[in-house]
């Protein structure tokens, strides 16, 4: 008994030793976790650098290098945490150990995983911010370049017919758009010669938003109608479910009533029999006669 206990105790000690060795190993990789923290700081630094970037002076090369380094670190840390989890699971699955050890090991693994997840999320946010900055720069570049040269204006005006053709509802809208683009193209060869065409082009660009808003409002109205119909479909489905549930209730009520009917009929039969029993006089007279005879017998036995 004692041997078994000591054996179990030693196995406990062995296992805790094993676990503490693994924790030691991970603590040695804690510098890499600290590197993970430093990678986080670097990520913050990347974020700051990405924020401060301007149109002309963006440190793309630095950002890309830092991003690569951070990604490598994160993948290494991920692999280490996965290894630790495997060891933990094999430990749990191999022998019967106390619940404290299991909870301890699982908590440590979960903690590490959560920290890694937090660092990855922050990294992702920094990357999205960087892409947004890039987009903003691109649009600003386009804005400034449209004022410098009229070239992008034509594809701009041409893009709208293509975009609005897909959203246009009325059959009359594509022909006006086609005509608009075809009327704008002969303007462009005359651009250098005709100074008056410039306000016309700007006017057309203004009218593009008006038609745009008209089309957009139509598209929005259609979306609303579609979502309303969808909701209506939902409501109908719910209604059907409720009615079917209530149908089942009605069936139950029906069964209950049938049970009641059977019971009452049976009870009525019994009562009729009872009534017949007590209403017929002959049976009653025989009973009274027997009672009298019995009484007389007892009387005779006691007296005589």
């Amino acid at each position: 008994m004692m041997n078994v206990k000591s054996g179990q105790g030693s196995s406990y000690r062995e296992r805790t030793q094993e676990f503490s060795s693994i924790a030691e190993r991970l603590r040695k990789s804690f510098p890499s976790l600290n590197a993970g923290v430093s990678a986080n700081n670097v990520g913050v630094g990347v974020g700051a650098v990405a924020k401060r970037t301007s149109v002309f002076d963006d440190p793309t090369v630095e950002i890309q290098e830092l991003t690569a380094v951070i990604k490598q670190d994160i993948t290494a840390l991920n692999a280490a945490v996965v290894d630790l989890q495997l060891v933990c699971n094999s430990q749990n699955g191999s022998e019967s150990i106390s619940s404290d050890t299991t909870t301890h090991s699982t908590t440590v693994v979960d903690n590490l995983k959560n920290r890694l997840m937090g660092a990855t999320k922050e990294f992702k946010e920094v990357l999205t911010m960087r892409t947004e900055n890039l987009k903003v720069h691109e649009s600003r570049r386009q804005l400034f370049s449209t004022s410098a040269s009229k070239e992008p204006a034509n594809p701009f005006a041409r893009q709208h017919p293509l975009a609005n053709r897909s959203t246009a509802n009325a059959s009359t809208s594509p022909p006006p758009w086609v005509k608009n683009s075809s009327s704008s193209s002969p303007l462009f060869p005359r651009k250098q010669a005709d100074g008056e065409s410039q306000p016309l082009i700007q006017q057309q660009q203004q009218m593009v938003p008006l038609q745009d808003s008209y089309m957009q409002s139509r598209a929005e109205a259609l979306h609303n109608v579609e979502s309303t119909i969808h909701e209506l479909g939902n409501i109908f489905t719910q209604l059907a479910t409720m009615v079917s549930q209530q149908g089942e209730l009605a069936i139950r009520i029906d069964e209950n009533m049938e049970d009641t009917l059977a019971n009452v009929e049976g009870a009525q039969g019994q009562l009729m029999r009872y009534l017949n029993g007590i209403s017929s006089n002959r049976w009653l007279m025989i009973k009274i006669f027997f009672v009298l005879i019995a009484f007389l017998m007892i009387f005779l036995f006691f007296v005589a």
């Binding site: 009325a170 009359t172 022909p175 006006p176 005509k179 608009n180 006017q203 009218m207 008006l210 038609q211 008209y214 409002s217 139509r218 109205a221 259609l222 609303n224 109608v225 309303t228 119909i229 909701e231 209506l232 409501i235 109908f236 719910q238 209604l239 409720m242 009615v243 549930q245 209530q246 209730l249 009605a250 139950r252 009520i253 209950n256 009533m257 049970d259 009641t260 009917l261 019971n263 009452v264 049976g266 009870a267 009525q268 019994q270 009562l271 029999r273 009872y274 029993g277 009973k287």
Partner: protein
């Protein structure tokens, strides 16, 4: 939500000097005083001409003028102008203009191109359109559909409420019927007991 006037004009986009020629005119000025009506009509004609002149071909335009919104739609030289108040939704306004212009082209084909002077003949369709489209739902199918869908949704909500009530009543009925069946069972047992017990006595 009101339409005050609908005008159909012929716009000459080539020669900007000439004013557009009025082809059809329908106005509803009854809410002005009797003596102001003529002035208001002239004002409408003038503003309509100006707006139509400024609308380039195949464009829709909306101008805010005092308390009216003037919407114009120029298609191929035929321009239709509508005077609506601020509450009238813009989309329905343009669908009204679309309908009017389609109807005009169906009725008159291309003969309007030759008209050089303001035509004073009333076009009955325009007058009925003016009265019919006072309600923006009439012109705009989308708005009508949206309205009907909203009504249907309200009705469905009411239906669901009444179905829930029915469910509650059915619940109480189930309770009562189960109570009844238990009571009848007790009754049957009692009757059997009284019947069997007193055969001797």
């Amino acid at each position: 939500m009101k339409i005050t006037a609908l005008l159909v004009l012929k716009c000459d986009s080539r020669s900007d000097g000439s004013d557009p020629v009025i082809l059809a005119n329908a106005t509803d000025v009854n809410h002005f005083g009797y003596f102001q009506r003529v002035t208001v009509r002239q004002f409408i004609v003038f503003v309509g001409r100006t707006v139509a002149k400024r609308t380039p071909p195949d464009q829709r335009h909306s101008v805010q003028h005092e308390e009216y919104k003037v919407h114009s739609y120029n298609r191929n030289g035929l321009c239709v102008v509508g005077f609506m108040d601020d509450h009238y939704p813009v989309r329905s306004a343009f669908s009204v203009l679309n309908k009017v212009i389609d109807e005009y082209q169906k009725c008159f084909g291309e003969t309007w191109r030759n008209i050089q002077a303001d035509s004073t003949q009333p076009w009955p369709y325009l007058n009925e359109a003016l009265t019919k489209f006072q309600d923006p739902g009439e012109a705009d199918n989308l708005l009508k559909i949206q309205r009907e869908l909203d009504e249907t949704k309200i009705i469905l909500h009411k239906t669901i409420d009444s179905v829930l009530e029915r469910g509650e009543k059915l619940d109480s009925l189930v309770e009562k019927s189960s109570d009844l069946s238990a009571a009848s069972q007790m009754f049957y047992k009692q009757a059997k007991k009284t019947n069997q017990c007193c055969t001797i006595l």
